[in-house]
């Protein structure tokens, strides 16, 4: 089943997908455009992986890491499907990153690889934007690059783990204004999902609502104000986001 969260008529609703519409718990069916999408989970700790695809590590001229390169994100950066993300006026290189997002469903510490998939509630899609102009070599990638307001769209659906039997063999695709710019497969992850869960839970307790953004393959490109970015993971969902400039973003400030 596909689960979402929306804002509709002054309230937040948990919804499910029903034949291309969203279904509220009381049975009402809504059409796209009649409500606002929210991130499909109220996130706990958000982990993100750097350089977790060999081709992407090479693209950035890095050796593939020997232990997972993990960084964290705050809730300020998470936005839902069909939101707008700001490209600051002084940015010269802002790129998307299409990622499979793993949503944790149980509390666990010292989880072994063999048991790791039992921790997963489901999957969604993230677009982990980065603005490379702000990269500095301290705790890199630093929060000014990766934890900007509204810079990590997530959603639209949380798809039950049971409905995604092969999470390590899913096609990832990014389209900018309809043109495909990034293609890859989760089969190419350096550290796969069980390995990441075992690693993270070896030193910290994972909790329901924690999310692991598993990294992105090669195929990055600069995006400009007005661009519509679709990041899609096969059998999970397609996440749409629009880039806006400062004048639009702060129009009413």
């Amino acid at each position: 089943m596909k689960h979402g969260r929306i804002a509709y008529q002054g309230a937040v609703h948990q919804v499910t997908e029903a034949r291309g519409k969203v279904r509220l718990a009381d049975g009402r069916l809504l059409n796209e455009g009649d409500f606002q999408w929210l991130p499909p989970v109220e996130v706990g700790t958000v982990f993100a992986l750097g350089l977790n695809y060999a081709d992407h590590a090479k693209e950035l001229a890095f050796k593939a890491p020997e232990v997972p390169l993990v960084f964290l994100k705050g809730p300020n950066t998470i936005v839902g499907h069909k939101a707008q993300t700001r490209r600051p006026a002084d940015a010269t290189y802002m790129h998307y990153e299409c990622e499979l997002a793993v949503v944790i469903g149980k509390t666990g510490k010292n989880v072994k690889k063999a048991d790791a998939m039992g921790m997963v509630a489901g999957y969604t899609v993230a677009n982990d934007y980065a603005i490379r102009d702000y990269l500095e070599n301290f705790y890199r990638p630093n929060l000014r690059v990766k934890n900007r307001d509204g810079c990590t769209p997530l959603g639209p659906w949380l798809v039950d783990a049971a409905d995604v039997p092969n999470p390590m063999a899913l096609k990832l695709t990014t389209r900018v204004n309809g043109k495909t710019t990034q293609e890859g497969t989760t089969a190419d992850m350096i550290f796969d999902i069980p390995t990441l869960i075992e690693y993270l839970s070896s030193f910290m307790t994972l909790n329901p609502g924690d999310v692991i953004l598993t990294g992105t393959p090669e195929g990055l490109a600069d995006v400009k104000a007005g661009d519509v970015i679709e990041t899609e993971v096969e059998n999970v969902c397609c996440l749409v986001n629009t880039i806006v400039d400062d004048a639009t973003y702060f129009a009413n400030a």
């Binding site: 706990g44 700790t45 982990f47 232990v67 390169l69 993990v70 960084f71 964290l72 994100k73 705050g74 809730p75 300020n76 950066t77 510490k109 010292n110 702000y134 500095e136 070599n137 301290f138 705790y139 890199r140 990638p141 630093n142 929060l143 000014r144 934890n147 900007r148 307001d149 070896s202 030193f203 910290m204 307790t205 909790n207």
Partner: protein, 214 residues
Amino acid sequence: MIKQKVSGTVYGVILNDNASLQKIGSLDEAPYKGAPKAPVLYIKPANTRVACGSAVELPAGADSVEVAATIGLVMGRAAGRLAAGNALDAVAGVVLAADLSLPHASYYRPAIREKCFDGALPVSSVKPLADLAGLVLTTEIDGEVVDSRSLNDLVRSPARLLADVTEWMTLAQGDVLLVGIRYQAPQAKAGSVVCIGAEGLGSLQFTIVQGAQA
């Protein structure tokens, strides 16, 4: 009476005091290739937060942790694009905090394993916002003062730090911004009793205990 609780995300900053900048030395060479321009932040996630009086288990394989005494600014309201001049108006109170880390000399890559283990952030209850300039934080391990630092040598004052950080990220009500930690702070071992104190803010105590062996 402070009604605001620490309920959100805890952010910290490195290299925000002159003593630490001196200690780490030249930042011109690789991997840093220059001093940081913007505040360098890290996140202490929810699993790290424990109260005064807690016993913190050493992570598997570790025999000591760095204990970095600091002050956290607890946000009383959502705050984005603050101006330094009135940034402190958004702060509801402060906490004493001990930012625990596995020793790591390099600040190049995010230190998640080092800084995010369970219990890696003992924090006090929320105290009224005091004048932080000149505040002296002391760290005692087993009754002996191992470090004493004044907030006089901050590179960015609390107000300046809030302004610079909220330039790119909105802090939510209940979020905490730690004002800085020592590079290579004193270390505590299993069995150590640690006490962080500051005049007017009381103290924060906890013990370090051996964890289960992996």
